[in-house]
Amino acid sequence: MSERAAAVEIHGVSRHFRTPEGGLYQALADIQLSVRAGSFVSLVGPSGCGKSTLLNIIAGLLAADRGRVEIFGRPLSGINRRAAYMFQQDALLPWKTVTENIALGLELRGVVAGEARARAAEWIERVGLRHFGGSYPFQLSGGMRKRAAMAQVFITDPDILLMDEPFGALDVHTRQRMETEALALWSGTSKTVIFVTHDLEEAIALSDEVVILSAGPGSHVIGRHAIPLARPRNLIDIRTDADFAEIYRALWSSLRQEVLRTRV
């Protein structure tokens, strides 16, 4: 595979939904997108623009009405086995302990229980949840649950990480720490990350490339912007950086119109 191979290629993907009133809502219209392997790409757009729909199509959880999705050059059908998904909502199984939750991906792949537990224990250390392996999700704080969720997706060593506003529900400080840790876990790997957010600052701070989607209905890609900020990035201070501010101004001017077009 060549160095610049695409991890995900999306050709002319459209998707509509039936509204409760019986009408049709065109969520995505003719999406074209290619995501380079190993890059961190954010999808940004006003709320309701179909970012999550697009992510679910890449995950294989949702089928496109029209168009093609290729994963490392192969057409996608069914669940995307090269990808892991980190959800906005709590998706840990409430009836499993932290260890059991983290080991689950391995167990489902047929790794024997003992080894799965041992590797889960390593990940518990890495995400800073030592002593909480035997706890149930309801006993953890929101930030700790996100750490566990991060270990749950990273342990299967996926080539592609799909993240749907994973830190959206956290308070600002916890969120920044989690972003930092997510970046640390990603950097040095060859994983491709597709990160959905409505927060332009978060997108710029984390990504190699920011893709802006238009407001729905019929959302499509209206801009792709490379983010030339050096890595490793210091997320605590990056927002006060002069280059950051300039990039932010440039991207905001194109996102702004879409936000204003959105009827809330």
Partner: protein, 259 residues
């Protein structure tokens, strides 16, 4: 609300009611022929256990109740799962299930007597018709109620249908199933006792019917008292099992009718 205070108040309520009954009988307000007396009832229960004849009846009723609980519960869980996962089948069968569930069970009892005879199986059949529907509807609801995000997450983690059932659907439905089992165990006992009452040669229901036949009010109340203790004990056991199986659920479930 401390546990001790609740317990003390509970005992107080019982003591007041029984005290009123006892003194009512003593003062002649309550006719002993029709209402008996708590002291007589306690004496009778004691006598029944001391003479030992009651054990057989209790054993028969317990066996019938447990059998109908096991058969009806298992069938209800399997049926609930199947229909929740097969929308077409559930749409087709829906009216039939509703009709079957709307039949009054007392009407079925004589038919089961004809079909299965005077022995335990006619009572088990009656119990099954009660337990099955309660467990079935709850299991169905429980499986339908699964958080779709959990399903998506476990699917993305690589689960096939069988693993999805084991890791997500069953544990998620367990809360619903358990609340139905609590209720249905009590109903199973009631159903088999009704069955015994209507026609049998043993069991607590038979005992009560016998006492009633000779206007032995004390005997009837003694049978009811034994039954009540029995239902409470079974409920307490189920509650303990549930607490252990659902230990992942947040917060202490506040006391009410079950704990």
């Amino acid at each position: 609300m401390s546990r001790r205070k609740v317990l003390a108040c509970r005992i107080l309520v019982g003591a007041v009611l029984i005290g009123l009954w006892q003194s009512g009988a003593a003062l002649g307000v309550l006719d002993r022929f029709f209402f008996s007396r708590p002291s007589d009832i306690v004496g009778r229960v004691w006598e029944l256990f001391a003479r030992g004849g009651v054990w057989t009846h209790l054993g028969v009723t317990l066996a019938e109740a447990l059998l109908s609980f096991a058969i009806g519960g298992l069938a209800g869980v399997l049926g609930g799962f199947l229909l929740a996962r097969r929308p077409l089948l559930s749409a087709v069968l829906d009216p039939y299930i509703r009709v079957a569930n709307s039949l009054p069970r007392v009407v079925l009892a004589p038919i089961f007597l004809l079909w299965f005879g005077l022995g335990i199986w006619s009572k088990v059949a009656l119990g099954v018709t009660v337990v099955f529907f309660i467990v079935f509807f709850n299991t169905y609801q429980g499986v339908k109620d699964v958080d779709p995000v959990l399903l998506d997450n476990v699917r993305m983690l690589g689960a096939n249908e069988r693993q999805l059932t084991r890791h997500v659907l069953i544990p998620s439905a367990l809360g619903w199933i358990f609340s139905s089992l609590q209720i249905s165990l009590g109903f199973a006992i009631i159903a088999v006792v009704v069955g015994e009452y209507l026609g049998s040669s043993s069991g607590i229901g038979y005992m009560i019917a016998q006492a009633e036949g000779v206007f032995d009010t004390t005997g009837v109340f003694a049978g009811m008292a034994i039954l009540a203790v029995f239902v409470l004990a079974a409920g307490a056991l189920m509650a303990r099992l549930e607490r252990w199986l659902l230990r992942w659920k947040p917060g202490p479930r506040a006391g009410g009718f079950v704990d």
